[in-house]
Symmetry: C2
Subunit: 338 residues, 2 copies
DNA sequence: TTGTACGCGTTATCAT
DNA sequence: ATGATAACGCGTACAA
């Protein structure tokens, strides 16, 4: 592999000049610039990223950390879409993405150290961390630039999120407008902010419309289909006419539980989900749900992070937060109460 | 951040000695070793990966390349499981994984160059590349160590794969033993080796048992649910009593098409899939399918790659190939012909 | 066993 | 505008 030195020899200039050409430094004579560029082409020179990183202290690599709790949701397309969005945004801006999933073989602290302290990453993206896994505090402590996908209560963290509260409220109000009064909800794990927020939105809609929500109509699930099935089984005893389910995976399980009990969706019970997974439209019945732009959210997260990385050279390190709107996808799984 | 120099000062030795301690070099006095280790603890020294890489020319980073064609299958849990396996194996061996998905924003050649030529990755893992996307030839050309997940016909490539031919044959023979004679198949995209191999296994089983396979009983799909639905719609006209479907996603679509036509699975048509996705067991009816160890396959791929990276220092660069067995998961979607 | 000195490929500072 | 020269942090022959 040719180096700066080689190019310099061929072009008959010094390394410094070649370096300037490569980095688009303004003060270099147009003629020598062309000479150097020819030399670069000729010997097939490509800058060595590692050497460059050693000198600049920047790698153009960002680390994506996904804790164990979420990687359990692995069978959920959510994860794949997020990754697609993140890598796509990275591609666009010439960054690379190092992926690290917490798995059983290595604990959270070790992973964090390996990612953060080895100097390979300029910044970190982290998705849907639980409130209690200690990752965010550690990141704050380290001082490495990071952005979370999904809000975090700490005032110092920058995040991107979708309007979970608004989306949940919108979904619930849709049920209310259809005429439902006895509405239940299946929540996600309440140690995750999206689950909390969707419950909040649900309760707000119900409260605003003067509808009571007895405790028995709120069942906590775990964002999986099996969890949805189990939660719905319990909810069935309370005979709601409609259910707001905090994720599509949960909703799929809930629908199966309803059908398994010999009831029909939506004739006996209306079901509305959250996420708008690719499969939601082709379920039987097609699932009414709240669309969230997962891929776009991840893209945005990367952009915000890169923006922070650039600003850091200056001193404008104010917290950045962006919340994206959701959208109601009306399909067949909801109808008026009979 | 403290450097070798700092540690050396504190311990009262030279940088070289500290370096030796860190790299477990044998020839260093136990007493000085302890002194150095104390110094390291004291100032919280951590080796700087980039500087180290510049000197050793190794990064302990492997790049995972997934071409566009596969990233379309994104909604398939296959992808997530593969990633989980790969990252897990990386964690275990102290490697990092740089993920790069080919997306619309950047073409294949550019991506390849960015990954391979910048010196950030020691080796490359690539999943299910199409035969015609040119990635493998480029990798061979570059000379970078790589392993593909899924076999590749070129004699120079190392790969790990599951026994697609054997699995398909096993599935087909299961149908034959049940008494089926008129058996159709829905294949994957035939520019991908797994799709080819599964078709081969199917044909072999049929041939070995003296069963004819008219062309009309072979329909090419694209590994998606929608594709399965469309393919099955065509296949229905031929009235097979059983169908071997080359993937579970396809099979899910096929089942829906059958049910949509007012027929029952398995009473009217038996369906057998391939993959054993997590959802296969909870479908209605539960899907009989061929289990393939996706996560384990990815782990293995990482291990083989790392093995090659280590051997490369020596000269044993023989091609390595491993094929993992599959397993038949008998569930409800197959029965004897009526 | 330990230290010296050089190299890894760039960037950046300072003269010229 | 260009060219020495010193970092960047570490590994490693080689010498001691």
């Amino acid at each position: 592999m040719p180096t700066l030195q080689d190019v310099a020899r061929i072009a008959g200039v010094s390394r410094s000049t070649v370096s300037r050409v490569i980095n688009d430094h303004p003060s270099v004579d147009p003629r020598t610039r062309r000479r150097v560029q020819r030399a670069i082409k000729q010997c097939g020179y490509r800058p060595h990223a590692i050497a460059r990183s050693l000198a600049t202290k920047r790698t153009r690599i960002i680390g994506m950390i996904i804790p164990e709790a979420v990687s359990r949701l692995f069978t959920d397309p959510y994860f794949a879409l997020m990754l697609r969005g993140a890598t796509d945004a990275c591609n666009r801006s010439g960054y690379q993405l190092i992926l690290s999933l917490f798995t059983a073989s290595v604990d959270s602290k070790t992973m964090h150290d390996r990612i953060v302290h080895n100097g390979y990453v300029d910044g970190v993206l982290t998705a849907n961390t639980c409130l209690d896994d200690g990752l965010v505090p550690r990141l704050l402590d380290t001082g490495i630039p990071f952005v979370t996908i999904g809000r975090h209560p700490d005032a110092r963290v920058s995040y991107v999120d979708v309007d979970n509260i608004g989306g949940a409220r919108m979904a619930t109000e849709f049920l209310i407008h259809l005429g439902h009064k006895r509405i239940g909800t299946i929540t996600g794990p309440l140690n995750m902010t999206p689950a909390q927020d969707r419950l909040t939105g649900f309760l707000k809609a119900m409260g605003d419309n003067g509808l009571p929500v007895p405790d028995a109509l709120i069942v906590e699930g775990d964002f999986t289909e099996a969890g949805g099935r189990a939660a719905m089984a319990r909810l069935l005893e309370e005979r709601p006419t409609a259910v707001f389910v905090a994720s599509d995976s949960l909703a799929i399980g809930a629908v199966k539980a309803i059908q398994g009990a010999g009831l029909r969706v939506p004739e006996d019970i209306s079901v509305i989900g959250f996420d708008d997974l690719p499969s939601a439209a082709s379920l039987e019945p097609a699932l009414t749900t709240v669309h969230q732009p997962i891929e776009g959210l991840a893209q945005l997260a990367v952009e915000v992070l890169i923006d922070r990385l650039k600003r850091r050279v200056q001193n404008g390190i104010a917290v950045q937060r962006v919340v994206l709107p959701t959208e109601l996808m009306v399909r067949r799984s909801c109808t008026r109460p009979s």
